[in-house]
């Protein structure tokens, strides 16, 4: 019964997230579709692609976790035969699925577009680090939302996350192992690129795991 309760809550949250997820898949696909056309559309498509995933991240966390607490919808769900542990587990899994599945689909699509279009394959290394950052940003924002009820913390996490993208992109393009292959037809996976990508995801995952542990042990849930 416990498992099925969590599964039902996950299904409920996924239904609630259907429109942002659908919008992100459409927006992400459209931005990838224009990337191979010209150098200008490649830039516009790339920026739009990143924005789509950032917006999906923010909408899912703010609507699914933060707003549910603020609106007291959480009280309604916790009035049902659901334990607080089941509620937290379902909330995290559903929210993570709602982000990571579109992220994975769009990331795979981005790889396909780069490989099968005139866009240099050498950019794959740059994209891998960028996509890793977007996943880590999501993990951290979800973690902050679980850790704190204060909107100041959420706004700070979003601000830092968004500003960091603007710092990360030029920094990556100036990283020698990425800079020397931006026009190359072959992607080279150097140790620093692999370490950077895995490191980003690992840091995000650790923050999220810690936040889940903290939230599950909290005595008060409303």
């Amino acid at each position: 019964m416990s498992g099925s309760v969590v599964a039902r809550l996950i299904r409920k949250d996924l239904v609630l997230a259907r429109w942002p997820v659908t919008g992100a898949l459409i927006g992400g696909a459209a931005s990838l579709a224009i990337m191979p056309l010209t150098s200008v559309t490649a830039y516009v498509g790339g920026v739009t692609f990143v924005c789509v995933l950032v917006i999906l991240n923010i909408i899912l966390v703010m609507n699914g976790v933060v707003q549910e607490r603020k609106d007291k919808t959480q009280i309604f769900i916790l009035s049902l035969p659901v334990s607080t542990a089941q509620y937290v587990a379902a909330k995290v899994v559903a929210n993570a699925l709602a982000f990571t599945v579109p992220w994975a689909v769009l990331s795979a699509a981005a790889v396909v577009v780069i490989v099968r279009s005139p866009i240099p394959d050498g950019l794959l290394a740059f994209w891998a680090v960028l996509l890793g950052y977007l996943l880590a940003y999501y993990f951290v924002l979800l973690g902050v939302a679980l850790l704190s009820d204060r909107s100041g913390w959420h706004a700070s996490a979003i601000t830092v996350g968004n500003i960091s993208i603007n710092l990360l992109i030029p920094a990556l393009l100036n990283l020698p192992s990425i800079a020397r292959q931006t026009s190359s037809p072959i992607a080279v996976w150097t140790a620093d690129i692999v370490a950077l990508t895995l490191g980003e995801v690992l840091v995000g995952a650790v923050v999220l795991a810690w936040a889940i542990r903290y939230r599950s042990r909290r005595a008060d849930h409303v």
Partner: protein, 298 residues
């Protein structure tokens, strides 16, 4: 003798600026307990402890024979909860919520839910965000009642309702409690609503239960005496007097220990008795709270 539906003993919860102190409450099957207190008295905190949404720092909480918060999911199988500030998912319809609750609650009574939709004049396909406050409360009540719970916990459900909606909600509650196996815990600062449907009363103020008992006993043991005190006559001490005010020869005495023959003591001392009046629950509530605050301040 079966275990009480609700048993709170020595429950405490401390926040930075508020403390729930030594809360003890009992509710048996078939009873309706009106939980009355001013805003910020600790009603919602107590009710949320009963729903395991908030965990007590100390004390025992047993609901429907289950220990909370450990067995919360099992206990909540048979508890319906509605609070004034509870919200449904605004982007979804009432019908969507009915399907969700039916999916999670084995006791869901679809026929009763349909009947309540008609009785409350709700439209199942309407988005929740388009509902008025009264419709929202009725929708939440429908979702709780159609589960056919053994215990209904209602946190200020009539707050903000217009008189018609309040009448509809109270009428439905009166109907529900005809079933003697059910129990209702009804919190409010509106004593009129509580007086209308409750058979047990508990007053809470500043985090402490200040009085509790069955409603009829409450109403029976409280009296206001309007007295004429001639010059040279002193008001005699009497049991349970919590307030005495005088103006010239006139004196008003409020007692919480009234019994037949109570006024005889005054008459024997030469005090004239103009009237012996019953108090409303609201008057009793205010007198109890003010007396309690004076005693604690002293």
């Amino acid at each position: 003798m079966s275990e009480p539906v609700i048993l709170l003993d020595g429950v405490e919860k401390t926040y930075p600026y508020f403390r729930l102190t030594n809360i003890a409450l009992q509710l048996d099957a078939g009873q309706i307990l009106g939980f009355v207190g001013p805003n910020g008295a600790g009603k919602s905190t107590t009710l949320r402890i009963l729903m395991a949404m908030v965990q007590q720092d100390r004390g025992t909480v047993r609901v429907l024979g289950r220990s909370l918060p450990r067995e919360q999911a099992a206990a909540k199988q048979d508890i319906g909860f509605v609070s004034e500030d509870m919200r449904l998912h605004g982007s979804e319809s009432l019908a969507w919520h009915m399907r969700l609750v039916a999916d999670l609650c084995p006791g869901w009574d679809a026929a009763y839910a349909t009947a309540l939709v008609g009785r409350f004049n709700l439209h199942p396909e309407q988005q929740v965000r388009a509902l008025s406050h009264g419709e929202r409360i009725k929708a939440a009540l429908l979702l709780a009642l159609a589960r056919r719970p053994r215990l209904l916990i209602l946190d200020e459900p009539t707050t903000g309702l217009d008189p018609v909606a309040r009448h509809e909600v109270l009428a439905e509650l009166m109907d529900v409690v005809q079933d003697e196996r059910r129990a209702v815990l009804f919190s409010s600062h509106n004593t009129h609503d509580v007086e209308q449907i409750s058979d047990q009363i508990a007053f809470i103020d500043r985090g402490r239960i200040v009085d509790t008992g069955d409603k009829e006993t409450f109403l029976d043991r409280w009296r206001r005496l309007r007295l004429d005190v001639p010059p040279g006559v002193t008001l005699p001490a009497a049991a349970g007097v919590i307030d005495t005010s005088t103006s010239g020869r006139q004196a008003i005495v409020t007692t919480r220990a009234y019994a037949p023959g109570f006024e005889a003591g005054y008459a024997a001392a030469g005090v004239g008795i103009h009237a012996v009046e019953r108090l409303t629950l609201e008057e009793i509530f205010v007198a109890t709270v003010m007396h309690n605050r004076r005693e604690r301040a002293a």
